[in-house]
Amino acid sequence: MSIRKQFDRWIPQLVLGPTLIASLVFVYGFIFLTGYLSLTESRMMPNFEFSGLTQYHTLFDNERWWTSLTNLGIFGVLFIGLSITIGLFLAILLDQKIRGEGFLRAIYLYPMALSFIVTGTAWKWMLNPSLGLEKVMHDWGWTSFTFDWLVNSDMSIYTVVIAGVWQSSGFVMALFLAGLRGIDDEIIKAAQVDGASLPTIYWRIVIPAMRPVFFSVILILSHIAIKSFDLVIALTSGGPGNSSDVPAIFMYQFSFTRGQLGLGSASAMMMLATIVAVLVPLMYLETRSAKAMR
């Protein structure tokens, strides 16, 4: 075989080469390095002396870490739950042969084009305790109305939920709507002939048929939730105090402003573990249900 032919045979591998090497080094290699760093005493400078699980002990003794985890739990559950409820509701409403559907859809979905920093900035202003929505209510005569969640350390994490749901629910709507459009009309018509009411049809037939859409929506939203960083920074900066801290902020501050590389790495590894713990069972269930459908 000529050299030219030999070369041709390997073109696909050569084209993929740079990407695969980059992935091996910058994804797998770096995860390994971070993992190793989390097992050392590293502070300001990386220190490669092995120290076992000390950093993880420190991490789980750290009250701020627990606050972050609790907040992630609250935010994650509410953010995913509300986004799905609103998104599905809107998708079903829009699926009723609506005039101006395209226009409405465009309005519901535009927040997804914004950065979380912009969303956070806008909502920080809307929720401003003295000049924002609270003042609107006062101007309209409801003088006892108070809405100080942004500066109330018990409630600050819920402002993140409000802004996050605002940004993502339209996107969830788009996914569900695409799912609804994919359902066979004949099944619905048959059920109608049998006398089933519209809510029953949705509840018993349509929603169960959208199982795969639910999986991908939960997958994407939990991914967004676990990574959430910019929205919290722009809205509350983790405050008041550190009442609205999330793991991503914890990781950033300990790694880059407090010079605790070991502890920062340990928190990063815990974030990875959280994503794996959510995604792996979800994907397993999804492939299993996909097989069962066949």
Binding site: I117, T121, F171, A234, Y252, S255
Partner: protein, 289 residues
């Protein structure tokens, strides 16, 4: 999905439209408030109603947000950050899209033993929280003199964006009939010729989807920007955050809101012009992502 009953002006339909309009208001009000606040004077902001239109329209806040508001120690507005973001986003989007197109083409039509497994391994890059690579990457960029440079940011965005772009193109190209490629191969056409003559001419839509997706992702990124850039290479999201948090005396909400709109404008424009493709990108990325 359709159903057979004819829709007249029933009570149900009225409620339906009312609900849809209420939700539209919920999504549109923050944008409206942001815009109207940006045109109000500070006095009007303090005395007036959040939801009211400006009584006197003023535009100074926009000029200030663009060129003279303080963002930390410097006071040049968002302008320098805007150009930084543009300088970062254009090469990063083009390079990652280009690489993704070739990768996707290989994964769809030039499979070899183990290529499916490699594809799966590559996809892991879409799922990891980037926190888990930040520290080594910061060190690496430092070693190569790329820390705090736009080049460094472009590099990072290309490295971690390629998994997504590959996924886009691979899914699109698998819908190109295998026979078409096989026939061309039998005729003696090679890898690049087939790409140029057969695959590329039908790739228009996926290029648009991929470019829009990458543009939105990279323009809106904050994490890489705040970790890997400083001072005069920071992107606009970091600039906006600095601007809002820099308080020299009075909080100028109108300037903050104008700045937020400026930061959002490029991606909003893309959404307005090519919303259809934007949605397609989101759903395509979502179905597998």
């Amino acid at each position: 999905m359709t159903h057979t009953r004819k829709h007249q002006f029933t009570l149900g339909r009225v409620v339906l439209y009312l609900l849809l309009i209420l939700f539209a208001l919920y999504y549109i009000i923050p944008l409206y408030v942001t815009l109207s606040t940006s045109f109000k004077s500070l006095d009007e902001i303090r005395s007036g109603n959040l939801l009211a239109l400006p009584q006197v329209w003023q535009f100074e806040s926009w000029g200030k947000a663009w060129s003279s508001a303080c963002t930390g120690v410097t006071c040049n507005g968002l302008q320098p950050f805007f150009w930084n973001s543009l300088e970062m986003v254009v090469p990063a989007v083009l390079i990652s899209t280009f690489i993704g197109a070739f990768n996707g083409y290989v994964f769809a039509h030039w499979r070899f033993r183990g290529s499916e497994m490699l594809f799966a391994a590559l996809l892991v890059g879409c799922f990891i929280p980037f926190q888990v690579v930040l520290l080594p990457m910061a060190r690496l960029l430092g070693e190569f003199g790329l820390a705090n440079t736009t080049t460094g940011l472009v590099f990072v965005h290309v490295v971690y964006g390629t998994a997504f772009t590959t996924l886009f193109f691979r899914n699109y190209y698998t819908s190109v009939p295998e026979e078409l490629i096989k026939a061309a191969r039998i005729d003696g056409a090679g890898f690049f010729l087939i790409f140029r003559k057969i695959v590329l001419p039908i790739s228009g839509p996926i290029f648009v989807v991929c470019i829009i997706w990458q543009f939105t992702q990279i323009w809106n990124d904050f994490l890489f920007g705040i970790v890997f850039a400083s001072g005069d290479s920071q992107p606009i999201t970091v600039g906006l955050n600095n601007l809002v948090n820099t308080s020299t005396g009075v909080k100028e909400y109108n300037v903050n809101m104008a700045a937020a709109v400026i930061a959002a404008l490029p991606t909003l424009l893309v959404y307005l012009v090519a919303g259809r493709y934007f949605v397609r990108g989101l759903t395509a990325g979502a179905v597998k992502g």
